[in-house]
């Protein structure tokens, strides 16, 4: 076996002139922590595109957050040479984002490939999200190469999970390859297998050019870098190109392939995968799913499957220090350059001051954006409980789209519709009861249940998205000792008996705590929130009633008694300075309080009240285990 190809032997697979039969495009479908990045690293080494010295763990994950959390947010595409039976091939490995929030991006990555490596941890088995992406790949008619990873682990059970995968994909368990990304065992055979079993890309060589954008990334120095898969025709390096969804035209400044650093080429031919740089500064001008064609003699029809990303989950983001508002605004503007799905509008909260109402694809997306804002822009933020979009029809027929619970309309409501999801939960069968109980309490409807193996089960539910973004995932994990995995997909909406619960301090509603909940849970929410606020808000010089209300009807009530003693009796032997410094310190503390009417509420109370439920729901993103 001579996997590495010397440069002079590689002439037949030069970018822009590689015949389609010498190209294989694939992606890797895997759950977080199942070892995708490690396997990719081994491939880069084996094919010689990265030498040992330059190798750093998880080479392809560029962002710190990705490396730390072990997840891939943005995809990349790497071209690697590989020789099988004396013939050189160009392999394009397209790295897909691994999370449900980025389903659309995953689907575009899949659409750029002819095959997918289904990578499963031999000690853990397949997880719900992987399953969802596998189904997606099968829908795209991709050739599936099932692989068990981490066979070097002492806890590996390759027989068991090979059987499980065999059943899912419909193959003999013996056909499931076994590798260790860590030791490299089985990886050359896997690459050989990819070459032999994946079909070559189809596409018409002399048709007008059509290339699909499957990713676009903002780079501080180069502007937007657009990743494309050429389907038909060719793109030359001096071409003027057009984006088919908008008709916008740009001059190509550079075209090339990644191997694994960007390498300019003369162009890209049919079936090839590479990047374009046009000098645009905003990823919105280079949208995932869009079709690129040439400005002259362009294609009449775009490729199928383009869709605009639609935010599903909304949350208010507020700087803890009000003077950081401009910093937050600039930071969002910068992140937007690289995230076509991110959108936001200024929001003013009486409780939290100036901030933004931000729309996200899902909870992980929310968590990642929040973390990047805090880390890369050094911001301290409060985020309000995530909420979904409600369509409210009033008695008089007017329709209102509610992105923020505090904007929920007053008056007679005829109907409220909320987004629902199709959710898939995979778990050991001993937890079926606990999962069903949880889903029941979250207004779920069981759609079906299948045994993947003797002791693993797949449950399919419809669940309101609002319930999922609240605290579903945390509860699912705690009730199944962390063994359950969840995938969900927004699928339509339903009418529901929902009400807005307001929290009132001294009769004044605190917008940050308003929530839209199911009528049956309104009382519970009100009592719990009132109790929480009672413990978090310090006693004032007067009595402060805390109420939970639906409209003008009070459903729960607590009372913060007036403080009676706030005086230090002694001045220590004339130590007035100490007394004054204490006063000055308290005065500073007073300035950091938010005033709700005449009630002084410490910032920490808001953070604590918001983080103990809603804020934590974002942990969904940390699906590492």
């Amino acid at each position: 076996m001579t996997p590495r190809i010397a440069a002079d032997e590689a002439r037949e697979i030069q970018p822009a002139s590689t015949p389609q039969e010498r190209i294989r495009n694939f992606c890797i479908i895997a759950h977080i922590d199942h070892g995708k990045s490690t396997l990719a690293d081994r491939m880069l080494q084996l094919t010689g595109v990265v030498d040992e010295r330059a190798m750093r763990a998880q080479y392809l994950d560029r962002m710190d957050i990705e490396r730390e959390r072990g997840i891939t947010v943005k995809s990349q595409a790497v071209r690697m040479p590989w020789q099988v039976d004396g013939t050189d091939y160009a392999l394009n490995m397209i790295d897909t984002p691994g999370h449900v929030d980025f389903t659309y991006e995953v689907s575009r990555s899949l659409a750029a490939c002819e095959g997918a490596i289904l990578l499963v941890d031999a000690a853990q088995g397949i997880e719900a999200q992987t399953l969802a992406n596998l189904y997606l790949a099968m829908e795209h008619d991709l050739t599936i190469v099932p692989v068990l990873n981490k066979i070097d682990l002492p806890g590996a059970e390759p027989e068991k999970y090979a059987a499980e995968i065999g059943q899912l994909v419909g193959i003999d368990p013996a056909e499931v390859l076994r590798v260790s990304g860590k030791t490299g065992e089985g990886v050359p055979e896997l690459l050989d297998h990819v070459v032999r079993t994946l079909p070559e890309p189809e596409g018409t060589v002399d048709a007008p050019c059509r290339a699909m954008i499957f990713d676009s990334v903002y780079d501080t120095y180069r502007g937007v870098v657009t990743y494309v898969r050429v389907v038909d025709g060719r793109l030359g390096s001096r071409e003027r190109i057009a984006m088919m969804s908008t008709g916008a035209q740009h001059d190509l400044l550079e075209i090339g392939v990644i191997s694994p650093e960007p390498m300019p080429t003369k162009g890209l031919g049919p079936g090839e995968v590479g990047y374009l740089i046009t000098g645009v500064k905003d990823v919105r001008q280079s949208k995932v799913g869009d079709t690129v064609t040439t400005a002259r003699k362009g294609a009449p029809e775009p490729l199928a499957g383009y869709a605009d990303p639609k935010p599903m989950v909304f949350s208010g983001l507020f700087p803890i220090d009000g003077s950081d508002y401009p910093v937050l605004r600039d930071a969002l503007d910068k992140l937007k350059l690289n995230d076509a799905a991110l959108n936001y509008e200024p929001e003013t909260s009486t409780a939290l001051g100036f901030g933004f109402r931000v729309g996200f694809l899902g909870l992980l997306h929310l968590e990642i954006i929040r973390e990047r804002l805090e880390r890369e822009f050094d911001l301290d933020l409060i985020s309000t409980a995530p909420s979904v979009v409600y369509d409210v029809t009033m008695e008089d027929g007017t329709e209102v789209e509610v992105l923020n619970p505090s904007d929920f309309p007053a008056g007679k409501v005829r109907e409220i519709r909320e987004p629902i999801t199709r959710a898939t939960i995979l778990a050991p069968s001993e937890y079926i009861g606990a999962i069903m109980e949880l889903c029941q309490s979250k207004r779920g409807n069981l759609q079906g249940m299948d045994y993947l193996s003797e002791d693993r089960v797949e449950l399919r539910y419809t669940l309101p998205l609002a319930e999922i973004v609240f605290d579903f995932f945390d509860q699912l994990k705690s009730r199944t000792k962390g063994y359950a995995s969840l995938d969900y997909d927004v699928d339509g909406d339903q009418a529901a008996d929902l009400v807005k619960v307001d929290m009132l301090l001294q009769g004044e509603a605190v917008d940050a705590f308003s929530a839209v909940v199911h009528r049956d849970k309104a009382y519970h929410y009100g009592v719990e929130m009132a109790g929480k606020l009672k413990n978090l808000i310090p006693r004032q010089q007067f009595e402060v009633p805390i109420q939970a209300a639906i409209g003008s009807r009070i459903i729960a009530r607590e009372n913060i008694r007036a403080i009676r003693k706030d005086v230090l009796s002694k001045c220590y032997g004339g130590d007035i300075s100490r007394k004054r410094k204490l006063l000055e310190k308290q005065k500073e503390g007073k300035k950091r309080m938010k005033n709700i009417g005449s009630v002084e509420v410490p910032q920490e109370a808001f953070i604590a009240a918001l983080s103990s439920d809603g804020g934590d729901a974002g942990k969904d993103g940390g699906k590492k285990k």
């Binding site: 010089q541 003693k565 006063l583």
Partner: protein, 405 residues
């Protein structure tokens, strides 16, 4: 230490005229005696139990050191262009001043008198522990010029005294009070309320016992558990119950009721006196922003908006005096804004109150708020003075926070 330039005397005279301010020609003197027989669990004062501290810091050498400091402070005042006509009040605090022989206290007083004349009606107080005085020592103090003694009674309940690490027998308090009066001394009793485990009934017992001694002056301080004390550690270990603000308020109100019924009325948040003449003028000097010397380790002094405080350790204190330098650790000179703030902070706590004109424009709207909440006396406010009501006294720090800019 950065010495302050003296303030123009005219500014002070104006201030004095405006609100019954202290006489700039009179001086108060605090003399800190940093020794105790035992350190109490709640105490974070600058005090030492070892009878021999090295480097000239011992109890025996203390009076000489204090007198040397008086000489230096006098010279410092003169250098700053400040000269006092007389000493109006002297206060020996601690620590336990009566741990020193009466002769030592008298000697320090005599030395002071040799530097600045003592006013005819000067108030000269010594703090005392009921354990550390005798009939004879009290008589000697009176003969030596002490006019007033303040006993650390703290409580009349044995279990409470035990929690406070106080060693005296509560039965002894009426005895020492009688001896002091026999010697011609004015007497005040100090109480501490809010000790962990103390009940409302315990407080009543203590206040009644104090009043039964027939004293004309009573101080009642709520126990403050400072972070660096043995009691704070007990609290952290869960061996003592956390003090509760509402319980403290109940106790304060009870004390106020009992004192009032016995003919004593408050003149400062923690102090009660039978008549204005029985008020501690030394105590009031602090709250009114008068000038005072602070003699002894860790003592604080104030001279026309300049505050300075001494090094804390007696040995270091002695060492600096040996070098002929003032044993000052740090000092600060207050700007006009800070002085205005301090005035609110201090004067609002006394029954004579604070003139409304001392409250800056920007926070004056808070006066109405606190009158409505029942924290400030409405009639006094009508007359242009801010005087705390009883509930206001309990929330004095909160009211002050609202009134300062």
């Amino acid at each position: 230490m950065a010495e302050a330039a003296p303030l123009a005397p005219t500014a002070l005279d104006d201030a004095a005229a405006a609100g019954g301010r202290p006489d700039p020609h009179g001086l108060s003197v605090y003399i800190h005696v940093p020794f105790c027989a035992v350190r109490c669990g709640y105490c974070d004062f600058n005090t030492y139990t070892a009878t021999e501290l090295g480097g000239g810091g011992s109890q025996r050498e203390y009076p000489a050191n204090a007198m040397r400091e008086m000489d230096l402070v006098l010279a410092d005042d003169r250098a700053a262009g400040v000269e006092y006509e007389r000493v109006d009040t002297v206060f020996f605090g601690g620590g336990t001043p009566t741990l020193l022989p009466a002769e030592d206290l008298v000697a320090m007083l005599s030395h002071l008198r040799s530097l600045i004349p003592l006013a005819e009606d000067a108030e000269v107080t010594a703090e005392a522990n009921p354990d550390s005085v005798s009939r004879e020592s009290l008589a000697r103090l009176a003969e030596g010029g002490i006019t007033r003694v303040s006993f650390g009674m703290q409580s009349a309940v044995r279990s409470v005294l035990a929690t406070l690490d106080r060693t005296h027998d509560p039965e002894r308090v009426p005895q020492v009070v009688a001896w002091a009066r026999e010697a011609g001394l004015e007497v005040s009793l100090d109480l501490i309320y809010g000790t962990p485990g103390e009940t409302l009934a315990d407080v009543e017992t203590s206040v009644r016992a104090a009043l039964a001694c027939g004293v004309d002056h009573l101080s009642a301080y709520s126990l403050i558990i400072e972070g660096n004390t043995a009691m704070a550690r007990q609290l952290r270990r869960g061996e003592l119950a956390e003090p509760d603000g509402d319980d403290m308020a109940d106790k304060y109100e009870l004390i106020d009721d009992l004192a009032t019924a016995a003919g004593l009325s408050w003149y400062e948040v923690s102090n009660f006196a039978r008549t204005p003449a029985h008020r501690s003028r030394h105590n009031l000097a602090y709250w009114r922003g008068a000038d005072w010397w602070g003699i002894g380790p860790g003592a604080h002094r104030h001279r026309r908006g300049m505050r300075a405080w001494n090094v804390k350790h007696p040995s270091r204190y002695a060492g600096m005096l040996d070098q002929g330098t003032l044993p000052v650790a740090e000092s600060e000179t207050l700007d006009d804004g800070t002085r205005a703030l301090e005035r609110i902070l201090l004067e609002l706590r006394i029954a004579d109150g604070l003139p409304i004109t001392a409250v800056p424009e920007e926070t004056r709207d808070q006066i109405g708020v606190h009158v409505r909440r029942g924290h400030l006396d409405p009639a006094a406010a009508q007359d242009g003075r801010l005087v705390l009501t009883r509930s206001g006294r309990l929330l004095a720090d909160a009211v002050i926070r609202d009134l300062v800019p």
